[in-house]
Symmetry: C2
Subunit: 683 residues, 2 copies
């Protein structure tokens, strides 16, 4: 029996070496990589007669989860499985797949999520302490499904798996751009597919108050333009999440980021108003008045309502980016500070947090906040979410607070997946500075989908597939960090994510069709495949003022982060300059030719598609640098790495010009071409 | 000033002749074609400074509609329009676009939906009796948006428009396969885009009871597997529809098609039960017992609840496909019939309808039913929906009933658009048999999206774009019936429909990616572009038993009705055999070469994608017939229409073999290739 025993430390080896180089073995596409894994001989074939059984003491959610599993399995394989709705009557221990669960799970922090999976040619056994672990195991099973000429199968395997961190979250900002139910639901499905377990809903902002309050209905009635979740919808979200083992943690950002509250309730603010819903982006002045008892009375009643609505033990109060201007300008607040010996804005803010903490504690909740809330003396029961830097994470846990990491997981910055993937909350080199107890206080992390520049149409493409790599970082052993293998599996998981309804792939050509104004998009897609939206928050700094209602349908919105074609080209160029095999040479020539010849076609499109004018010269530059790249490749093919200094200087100048960002996008094949230029000039 | 006055009778001429042949004029893409239209000189340019004003006395819904118009305009053109939420304060008569409305519209049958639109280079005026007409005018304006090298614009034009029929509906069957909120919403947006005004929700079936009843909660709790609309969601659908000028007409199918009712309430049935939710398709036996007073007591309470929930004046009771078996088998029912001198099933059914009619009348509703309910003596206030044939439509109106047409609009039969398009409820040749009063009783028609074989993933591709042609049939003058021009405009409106969120285009490659199991889909798409799912209900007759929970993710589900590439090829072949210009010859050679060479690539995909095995020989046949087509084209290019009888017979035999349906699909380029064969053999 061929068998590899895979220890945690060797998982990296399996996924980059062993499994891939085994010609008879399957190439696994699991993401996140399981903790322990042993390959075995044979294949479990999926037949129409496939059946599953649920045994033990699971929560009801497992029956629904098992039913979803069946439907996803038959949708993926085209099998006409005979089982329909799984119930407790489906408990035949002779079924091909038997799920056994010891006890009903509770969707809460630190619940047991482990599972063990054994696939043999005849039988699949999935066992778990709780149904939450079993749900994770079912996701693993679906990712194991492969095909050969005979049909679909799962390779024989033994997996023992559990998460490295207990808090693996995605923040959805539904305040800046509202995201309707279906966006939330499909993203919950995506999260479940990669074993994430916290949906952090950012539920109040300067630009919107997207949740119904029955106690203070003016909040959503005047603060949302009708874009809000009813409480029934919130309950449906929580149920949908719970069915998938996902907690929902609400955030009501206070005292800042609160303009939308003040439209209906200006009395809460530190300046008289009146207020309208903010349409610009940025850090705004409006902030709650922490010196008035009426503020706390209001917040007490409001939080009483909301803490009852959200069952999770944790409740997020935001607490970030309060610029303090309204406090400084308000004489009463200044007088209050003097009277109460409050020295500065930070102390006043800390006082506010302490009051909110008391309210939340009264209603049985633990407080979570952005790292600004870590003020001297605040109770140890709170959880710190580090967004300004990893040092705040370590500062918090060093002081005995639970904390989690979002710094480095800001997916709205449209950075490459690799950067997020290698952002370990607790890499080996940092472990020494913390005691084992302090290390345990690191709960995990959250990807943050801030929504200034995304709409329901584009949001999935900013979340996925990159967030799957963050999910792996938070689930898999820290030793799993091979970037190339992550990207290989990411391509595959991206398709799987599409099957649950996410639109990150399919909205791309749709947006190009709209931009091309009904024309054929071939040339436009060839171009857009090698650009990316400009990174971090630079889009706000290039002469366009974006508002909440601006169009987010332009080329920078259609272009996707971490453009795959460009990434592959950069790798290809690296390979070519060190080992120019005929295959690599042909491939690189193919791409450069394609891009060199693409501009005429794109120009023809632009003539009838004015919205694309902003990238016309960028497309011309792509053709130019591709021409240069071809000259370099041809020289190197002829074994000449001695193109003239003049050629080199002129090429680099062209390259520099091509680096200029246009249409809030940039060419991301340039590093690859630059490598060719340098090599060809003998640099 | 260049100006054509376009009378209704000449609209056909404009769209196929005049407008297209005018080199300086725009090619209009309007669908439905307006009643009257006059082209004028010049273009109204869309600038960021574009503003609109609303004047007169509109209903609130117009402000929301105008706001949506702005967002769709900027999404489409990439303009950064400065106006945000439109309110009654936006009433500056100097605005570039001024909408004037005489009175608030009511979303009801026979409401005024007319509008007048004048676009000049400086100004756009949209006037209407009601805001419903104004909403239609805004859709026309969006369809008028074109682009040239300078930017986006609307051509100067004068349009006077109103619908030919007042009832232009789409039936969504949410009972057989549940369709969640977002499916309903995006289809409402699609309907609004082509000026349809009735959403007919088929809300009960053997396979599901997808709506919450607070009076009889067992109906949805036991009858839906959790797939139901809450009443809050129903209200949200009604509001969403009302915002777009669309009525929502509910249908509760009774006494047959009612298994799902009986799961919770077996006492309603004519046989004792117990019942489970039906998972098969077809006409089932379970039927309500019309002889028990308790049935009516139940239905009275239920209809009281539902008539209050749905504000429309019309209420649909189904009434179709009662096979009568349970009635025949029930001794009590037979005895009742004898006692009450009820001669047959039809009379018993008529008695039931009369009782329901009384209940609905009591609750202020007018009854609608399928054409079976047209029984002698039934009151004239009901509306007959003709599904079994146009003769039932005429029979109904001849007898003085209002009626509408669905026969010929069964979009679940996956027929070509043309067939639906030319299906006029009242073509000229039939007008003589009806008096003008009787003609007026023809309210319009409804496309019916029965959902046996569709899921939320595929439903849009069965509804759109074909339903846009039905919408035109019901809106535009009967003289507008040029099929080629309909198809030209349909290509364009299909894209516009995509912009409102419909997935008919974008789910196609997604489904192919899943079928290809992660491999490149080029060869698969080339093949699938020229097949169609088999038509009418033949899919049920080819050895596969479909259940509600079967996979609908196979090739027949991915393939689309009225495949455009194939249709264009058939037209090309027609052109080639009569007028083989070099352009046509090159084009036809290109396609035949492509298909001839496609099989190897598709075979390679199939090797790793077992679900595609069912079309492997069909793909081989496509290659074979394409080879034959090339032989024919080459012979004809050489001016030889004299290929041998032997060649002809063998070619026709190959063609016959290729006609065999596989994977519940068929090659739809065959008629085109057959035309080439015949021509080349001098037939």
């Amino acid at each position: 029996m061929r068998k590899f025993l895979l220890l945690i430390l060797f998982s990296l080896y399996l996924f980059t070496g062993c499994a891939q180089s085994t010609t008879t073995g399957p190439t696994l596409n699991l993401m996140p990589v399981p903790g322990q894994l042993t390959m075995q001989d044979g294949k479990f074939r999926i037949a129409d007669s496939f059946k599953l059984a649920v045994t033990g003491q699971p929560h009801q959610r497992l029956f629904k989860g098992a039913t979803r599993f069946l439907r996803r399995l038959d949708d993926k394989t085209g099998s006409f499985l005979t089982q329909n709705q799984i119930t407790s009557a489906d408990n035949d221990a002779n079924a091909p797949l038997v799920i056994n669960v010891k006890r009903p799970g509770k969707v809460m922090l630190h619940e047991d999520e482990s599972y063990t999976l054994t696939v043999s040619p005849q039988k699949v056994n999935l066992t778990a302490e709780t149904d939450l672990g079993a749900l994770h195991g079912l996701e693993t099973l679906l990712q194991l499904v492969e095909a050969d000429e005979t049909g679909y199968y799962m390779p024989a395997i033994h997996i023992t798996d559990k998460p490295r961190f207990p808090w693996r979250g995605l923040l959805m900002d539904v305040g800046r751009h509202f995201m309707p139910m279906e966006v939330i639901k499909r993203n919950l499905d995506g999260m479940a597919a990669v074993k994430m377990n916290v949906l952090h809903l950012h539920l109040s902002e300067d630009q919107g108050f997207p949740i119904e309050s029955k106690v203070f209905p003016k909040l959503h009635q005047l603060g949302s333009n009708g874009n809000y979740f009813t409480q029934e919808e919130i309950k449906a979200i929580i149920k949908y999440a719970d069915d998938r083992g996902i907690r929902v943690v609400p955030e009501f950002d206070m005292p800042g980021h609160a303009t939308a509250w003040f439209v209906g309730h200006p009395e809460l603010a530190s300046a008289p108003g009146p207020y309208t819903i903010e349409r610009r982006w940025g850090i705004m002045d409006p902030v709650m008045d922490p010196t008035k008892e009426t503020t706390y009375k209001f917040l007490d009643a409001f939080l009483k309502e909301m803490t009852a609505l959200f069952p999770d033990a944790y409740f997020h109060i935001g607490g970030d980016e309060n610029n303090g201007k309204q406090w400084k300008a308000n004489a009463q607040i200044q007088a209050y500070m003097k009277t109460n010996n409050i020295k500065n804005q930070e102390e006043l803010h800390a006082m506010f947090n302490e009051r909110i903490l008391k309210i939340l504690t009264k209603y049985g909740k633990k407080m979570v906040g952005w790292d600004e809330i870590l003020q001297p003396g605040i109770t140890k029961s709170i959880v710190i979410q580090s967004w300004r830097g990893k040092k705040y994470l370590y500062e918090a846990v060093s002081k005995g607070y639970q904390a989690m990491l979002s710094n480095g997981y800001y997916i709205d910055l449209v950075q490459n997946t690799e950067q997020h993937y290698l952002n370990d909350p607790l890499p080996e080199e940092n472990q020494k500075q913390l005691t084992p107890e302090q290390q345990k206080l690191i709960l995990g992390g959250e990807a943050t989908m801030w929504s200034e520049l995304v709409t329901p149409e584009t949001v999935d493409s900013r979340v996925w597939p990159r967030t799957a790599a963050i999910a792996e970082r938070l689930w898999s052993p820290g030793s799993v960090k091979d970037v190339a293998d992550m990207y290989r599996r990411l391509d595959r998981v991206s398709l799987e994510l599409e099957y649950v309804g996410l639109t990150h792939e399919k909205n791309y050509p749709m947006m190009l069709r709209r931009l091309a104004n009904g024309q054929d998009i071939t040339a436009l897609k060839t171009f857009t495949d090698v650009i990316e939206p400009i990174k971090e928050y630079t889009r706000h700094q290039q002469g366009t003022t974006y508002y909440a209602y601006s169009p987010y349908t332009l080329i920078a919105d259609a272009a996707r982060p971490d453009a795959k074609v460009a990434r592959n080209f950069r790798n290809l160029a690296k390979e070519f300059v060190t080992n120019p095999t005929p295959k690599v040479t042909n491939e690189i020539t193919y791409w450069l030719n394609l891009w060199q010849n693409n501009h005429a076609g794109l120009q023809a499109i632009i003539r009838q598609a004015p919205a694309l004018k902003e990238i016309e010269t960028l497309s011309a530059d792509l053709a130019k640098v591709s021409q240069i790249g071809l000259e370099a490749v041809n020289a190197l093919k002829a074994n000449k790495a001695n193109l003239s200094e003049e050629w080199y200087n002129s090429s680099i100048a062209t390259m520099q010009a091509a680096k200029k960002q246009r249409g809030k996008t940039e060419l991301v094949v340039l590093p690859g071409i630059e490598a060719l230029i340098k090599k060809a000039a003998g640099k």
